[in-house]
Symmetry: C2
Subunit: 534 residues, 2 copies
């Protein structure tokens, strides 16, 4: 069963090993666990719905609680406290595009707001109900999850928007194909959600971002259905696919998604290499990306992330031996772990491996074979579960991310880390901060930063700590040529920073599009764009 107040399946537990707890204790002081509300207590706080029962939706308190929040840190705090403030008045589970259109009509007739809901994995407040005079109807696409067509010549698959990562892959794999889109949220997040928020998967280096995979489909809007036909490419004017991508439920509800799939690869391997220091590691990964070696994944942890990962891995004896070996080979303190993957046919993979190894060796890289790569692949979706046991140990963990051009990566990364490290200095609190680059391009890279801090005395004060941290980093990003998000989207948490990034005319353009598709401002108000209506 899925956790109601945390990440993933309740049966899946990722332990914090003893030396991991010690490691954090040394850096942050002893943890402080805040008391969790029970499900019953949380349910008791769900107010009476402002909507009368209807065949198209449920006003059940349990449904409404389970669809009230995503997985951001403020969401986490609200769920653990059991006090969410706002809840949807009802949750609909349409099974067809026609039912989505009926819900749009209902919203118009009964003066409702609508919130499209995929897997509920937003970490930026996308699906949180606004504090609105209008009743709020959350529209879960969970029942529209089937592969409805597969064009094996064109490698095009048609899905319902609510198909989760495992639902997408299992239906494709049964036919010999893969989408190859693996965001860390893959177990729960959905195809429609990926499109609506411009998701990127861990193997984007091979398969592309969702922008490259999304071939077309249908967006149901208040102005009618927007059909995006599938073409491999087109010069027929501005690309409206790119207006659906990232619309975050503001322009409409996606009712069908057509994606570009691939034949399952014959061979796939992941490898670990330690680079002696960050400056060399950064040059190595940049030049590797720019050399177009056909790798399927590249991820570089900075020195603190490398140290933290080794501390949290368990197996201290093995780690100690590894570190001894690495030191002998020139990768001691300050070393950085680079993981890379090759996917495809064996001969090509062998050549790509050869090129990557030779390239990294020139930067002092110590190759360690497939062991760490296998570990990465096994654990690739497990990191979000760790929040649970960190919380139980009395620590709060959150992540944030951006992307920027290579000439700015190191500068921006340092500014972000410093902004987080210093953000709680006035309270005398330390923050443990570390970073990796995991989506690399010829032009630049994503920057993905994790920060760990201690809760304050109560929930409100803990949320205030988070706000200081989040604001410090977000302002730093947009003030220094970073995008407010490379892969998480805008939601409500990042919306205040968008103007700085895009400028006034771009914001007016998005607003004009919103008014075009949704003249009464009913769709997901407050997400992406500032709220402008009741």
């Amino acid at each position: 069963m899925r956790r109601w107040n945390g990440w993933g399946e309740a049966g899946t537990v990722v332990e914090l090993p003893a030396q991991g707890a010690t490691f954090l204790h040394e850096r942050l002081g002893s943890g402080r666990a805040l008391p969790d509300a029970t499900l019953e207590a949380a349910l008791a706080q769900v107010p009476t719905s402002r909507l009368v029962p209807h065949r198209l939706y449920s006003v059940d308190a349990h449904d409404r609680l389970l669809h009230a929040r995503g997985q951001s840190l403020p969401d986490w705090l609200a769920l653990r406290e059991g006090a969410l403030g706002t809840y949807p008045d009802a949750v609909a589970f349409p099974e067809t595009a026609e039912q989505i259109r009926q819900l749009l009509a209902l919203a118009h007739d009964q003066d409702l707001c609508l919130i499209p809901y995929g897997g509920g994995t937003s970490v930026a407040g996308h699906i949180n109900p606004p504090n609105s005079a209008r009743p709020v109807l959350t529209v879960s696409l969970a029942r529209m999850n089937r592969l409805t067509d597969l064009d094996e010549q064109s490698l095009l698959a048609t899905f319902g928007p609510g198909a989760s990562g495992p639902q997408v892959e299992s239906q494709l794999r049964a036919r010999g194909y893969t989408l190859g889109h693996f965001p860390q949220s893959w177990e729960l997040s959905t195809l429609g959600g990926w499109v609506a928020s411009r998701s990127s998967g861990q193997q984007s280096l091979r398969y592309g971002r969702i922008e490259q995979l999304f071939a077309g489909g249908t967006l149901e809007t208040f102005a009618g259905p927007l059909q995006i036909p599938t073409f491999p490419a087109s010069a027929a004017g501005p690309d409206l696919r790119e207006v659906v991508l990232g619309c975050e439920g503001r322009f409409g509800i996606i009712s069908e998604v057509k994606v570009r799939v691939s034949a399952l690869p014959a061979d796939e391997r992941f490898y670990g290499v330690f680079l002696p220091d960050w400056p060399q590691a950064l040059r190595a990964i940049r030049q590797l990306a720019q050399a177009r070696v056909p790798l399927s994944m590249l991820r570089l942890s900075n020195a603190v992330e490398t140290e933290t990962q080794l501390a949290l891995a368990g197996h201290p004896q093995q780690i100690a031996w590894l570190e001894k070996y690495l030191k002998l080979r020139g990768a001691g303190d300050g070393k950085c772990l680079l993981t890379f993957g090759v996917t495809g046919n064996r001969q090509q993979n062998a050549l790509s491996l050869k090129h990557a190894r030779a390239h990294l060796k020139a930067f002092g890289g110590v190759f360690t074979g497939t062991l760490l790569g296998k570990k990465w692949a096994q654990n690739r979706f497990r990191f979000p579960y760790l929040r649970e046991n960190l919380w139980n140990a009395g620590y709060v963990v959150d992540t944030l991310e951006t992307a920027t051009d290579w000439s700015n990566v190191d500068h921006l990364l340092s500014l972000i880390e410093n902004s987080l490290r210093d953000a709680l200095a006035a309270e005398g609190e330390r923050v443990h901060v570390f970073t990796h680059l995991s989506h690399v391009y010829g032009e630049g890279s994503s920057i993905y930063t994790t920060y760990v801090f201690r809760p304050a005395a109560d929930y409100a004060a803990t949320l205030a700590r988070w706000r200081m941290l989040k604001h410090a980093a977000s302002q730093t990003i947009v003030d220094n040529h970073g995008t407010i998000s490379h892969q998480h989207g805008v939601g409500k948490d990042h919306a205040p920073y968008l103007l700085r990034e895009k400028g006034p005319l771009a914001m007016q353009t998005l607003q004009a599009l919103s008014e075009h598709f949704d003249p009464e401002g009913r769709l997901n108000p407050g997400t992406l764009l500032p709220e402008s209506r009741p």
Copy 2:
């Protein structure tokens, strides 16, 4: 000197060899040359400008004639006849973004239309002045052609929008880089034009379309400048880069373009392979594209194009020997020429070649080494010059193109070819039609069709023939799941077919964007969207 009434430099002549003329005569009957107007006669037809002289523009008749038409077949006919009908009232040559903003202000103050003008190579009527009550000011970006910044870490180059292909490449090559964007119009077309019309280059398989190369820049609009910041990727909402791309001058005038460049490759080769028949050739190229072999170029001519190319190549003795050899190896009548390229480092190129050869051999491919590949590379920009000597021999040549998903490529290709072959049947005229695929993707392919026919007794009747041909093919494309353009853009010639392709809501969306950026409808009216204002 550039030809005033045809393609390219006047000094460059591509001959029609004798056996080429014989080949066409057999298929179409004897040619009929229509009389060309002299430049003096054409200049005499330029009417008095409706604009008074101004420091920001020229009202000179020669300037106005040279910027009145592009390179579509109707443009060709108008120029050869010397009767263009509409002319710009003036031509501006701004040198800075500030001067572009002054021109926008002038257009507002004096009630003008503005037509942004790159290299004048449109084959879809993009830059033809409308028959408008408002005076028309054409804005040539030719003087804004410099590389103004090069970020060698991020591989980002900043150019003025008017840089032509050779200006782009020569400035980059001096620093060791290439953009790698080589449309057939490369000698004359410009970076800003490529962005505005979603151009695709012959090596898009390696470098991507202009959509992948355009990183950001500035669009000067009536609502202010739209600045597109450069990020390697972003999830910060809908991508407004993709609204600038393909806007065809309707939303604003591009004043600066930032592009993603590449280090010059160490090695590049092109190869020729003959496949025994079209069905096998089509399967071979599809599977090669879908196997992700890192090739830089793939082009497959169908049987009639292969036959025509060999007839037009000259050297009949050598061709006869080649055909004898090919027949012995199983590629006789119906054979199809596939050209492919590898670009990058030598080891990778060797492996890609090995994979491509093995793959094509399985489909009966006869490998002929680099000779035909070299010929292709030498002649890659020469095809447009051939129109001149075909015209002189009494034949008209035009091309059109689309893209569709693989499962539809063969079907649509046949429908297009048939629609052209039959279009002049009522007049008893034959049309020589042939096709290649030159931009391949996992999902599908472009389809590029050439058609040759004889002029009628006069210019008006010849234009009427072209209209029948063009309409038959265009309607066939949009009625059968093709895009109205893969690489030429919409302009005025394709605008009537866009509604069928995109549907009413998409058209309203483009219209809403046009009204947002250009509320008075002054920018390039009639291009992309139907004209809706005076």
